[in-house]
Amino acid sequence: MSSLISVSHVSKIYNTGEAETMALDDVSFNIEKGEFVAIMGPSGSGKSTLMHILGALDTPTSGTYILDGENVEKLTDDELAGIRNRKIGFVFQAFNLLPRTSALKNVTIPMMYAGIPKEKRLEIAEKYLKMVGLGDRMDHTTSQLSGGQQQRVAIARALSLNPSIILADEPTGNIASDQAEEVMAIFQKLNKEGHTIIMITHEPDIAEHAKRIIHIRDGKIVKDGNGHKQHLIA
């Protein structure tokens, strides 16, 4: 059986006028269904570029990226939007909730673009908000929620269309450490329930929550091992 995610020989070159920057240099790896992977690396290592490509927000300069059986690197903007909508649940560092909008409404947005009828959307949104422990705050607007609560709304939003992968970019970067533990607990619970989670972080103790850690530096994978024991696999 083929992998859920198959990245092979992916390179990304940014051309900023005179200088060419090699953000990713011939990166290959697979991720299976049900994995909890942390991608670690210092700033400038290429982990954000990798996250953009995994999230179908950007396409590689060369190489192939197959997500759940679909070749992503050849798609048009609108087709990429469809992939992001159906297959990827995003959790951002800055939460990126709509301001002046209720938690409930925020969770329904991906479902709106997927064409799910309004009543059904609200029903699903309620279910996931209860799951992340915000059943009593569904009508609160973004500014009335703490950082940890906002991130939990974002997780509910990421889950709403039951995506193939949940892609979290520094999910605890903007929240207090006790709330960060709560958020990581939710990710671990989701992973136990079978969700595939890919998390980008530069904090080792956050990365420790994952089962597998991919270290990246200067656009190349330097280490790929288990979360707790850090065995070198490749």
Partner: protein, 407 residues
């Protein structure tokens, strides 16, 4: 994504910043409002003018003597003495003229008039009894010039209400009073009902005297200054014009119609001339108002561009979460259409209210054409599409990564 929801969302977004939304709409409100008000006032004044012309009588042809040509000097139309009372009688009695129901020969000249210590300069019009029915003149007191007055060359006069107030103070009844026209004494036998005209040629500032008196005793003329002919109906105006024209050419022994020593002007000619003048004026003013609409549209575009820039992160997020280009275009385009459409509806109400108020103040008939309302609302929606298109495209083409990073 259903359109009802996009509309609700757009209304919600627009009500967040009420001041900005209001100011953006103001341009459209002023533009649509002024177009509606100006078109309405233009139509009102056009109607007012045609009402006034029609109040002077229906289906009328006015025959004036042609200009006098002597050497190189050409006099103004009406200065010639080629039109006579016999011409008028011939029109009435001719067997070839079948579409004419009444003929009114008239002699008109301005003269100085005194009543006691008051004096005025006004139009003295010599008329026959038929004048009253052709020109829809009625008297509020006393009576009009009769055939008997003409037969006797009576020194009697019927005066207009403006003339009455010029010559007599308000508590004097003019009827029975005596006035002097060029030194000759006339007895006032009636005062006409006001027609509401103003300025030069005011139908209320006039003195009617018997035609025979005017031509023989007062001014000593053998010719009349005009003959007014009433056609039997508005449908036979052209036929009547031809019949009268050929009869007069024949009587004046002129074979080439271009050399005619008289001119015939139909009321329709005057009406269409006046209509085209007021129409041109209305079009000109509406054109200026339309420019303000374009300026309003540019204001909408400006505000939409600011909105797109401000909401770059939101757009990035929506695209990351699966919004396609058409979703983003719909969102911003509908926002700008709602802005201009709401502005158009408010502007329409302002315009109707303004034209109602102004027409009341300057006493014009108040008219609002459904077509101009439909046009204004349609145009305001179209402005939303035209000026919202570029900002919406700009939003839809944002790259999600860059938009999400935007500070």
């Amino acid at each position: 994504m259903e359109y009802k929801e996009i509309v609700e969302e757009a209304v919600r977004t627009l009500t967040i910043n009420k001041l900005r939304t209001g100011l953006a709409m103001l341009g459209i409100i002023i533009g649509i409002g002024s177009v509606i008000a100006l078109v309405s006032l233009g139509q009102g004044s056009q109607q007012s003018v045609s009402n006034q012309i029609e109040s002077l009588g229906a289906n009328l042809l006015t025959i004036s003597p042609g200009s006098q040509q002597g050497g190189f000097i050409r006099g103004g139309a009406g200065s010639a003495t080629t039109l006579t009372l016999d011409d008028a009688n011939a029109i009435m009695s001719s067997s070839t003229v079948t579409d004419v129901s009444a003929v009114s020969p008239e002699y008109s000249r301005r003269a100085q008039v005194t009543a006691g210590s008051n004096n005025t300069n006004t139009s003295i019009t010599g008329v026959e009894a038929i004048y009253a029915s052709i020109h829809k003149v009625s008297v509020s007191e006393g009576q009009f010039i009769s055939d008997n007055d003409n037969a006797k060359q009576a020194k009697v006069a019927v005066i207009g209400p403006t003339t009455a107030s010029n010559l007599f103070n308000s508590n004097t009844d003019p009827v029975g009073q005596s006035i002097r026209i060029q030194g000759q004494a006339f007895k006032i036998i009636g005062v006409t009902v006001s027609k509401g005209g103003t300025g030069f040629g005011n139908a209320d500032d006039v003195i009617y005297i018997p035609l025979s008196t005017a031509m023989n005793s007062l001014f000593g003329s053998v010719s009349v200054t005009s003959v007014v002919v009433q056609a039997k109906s508005s449908n036979v105006m052209n036929a009547a014009e031809d019949e009268v024209g050929y009869l007069l050419l024949d009587r004046h022994k002129i074979s080439d119609p271009t050399q005619a020593d008289f001119t015939i002007i139909s009321q329709n000619d005057i009406l269409s001339t006046v209509s085209s003048v007021t129409g041109t004026f209305t079009a000109l003013l509406s054109g200026i108002a339309a420019i303000s609409l374009i300026v309003g549209g540019i204001g909408i575009m400006n505000i939409m561009l600011v909105t797109v820039t401000e909401r770059t992160r939101e757009i990035g997020l929506r695209k990351a979460l699966g919004a396609k280009k058409k979703d983003i275009i719909a969102q911003f385009l509908i926002e700008s259409i709602i802005l201009t459409f709401a502005g158009g509806v408010i502007g329409m109400m302002v315009g109707v209210a303004a034209s109602f108020g102004i027409s009341k103040v300057i006493s014009l008939p108040f008219t609002i054409a459904i077509s101009s309302i439909a046009l204004a609302v349609g145009v305001s929606g179209a402005i939303g599409v035209i000026f919202g298109w570029y900002p919406a495209q700009k939003a839809a083409n944002l790259q999600p990564i860059e938009a999400l990073r935007y500070e």
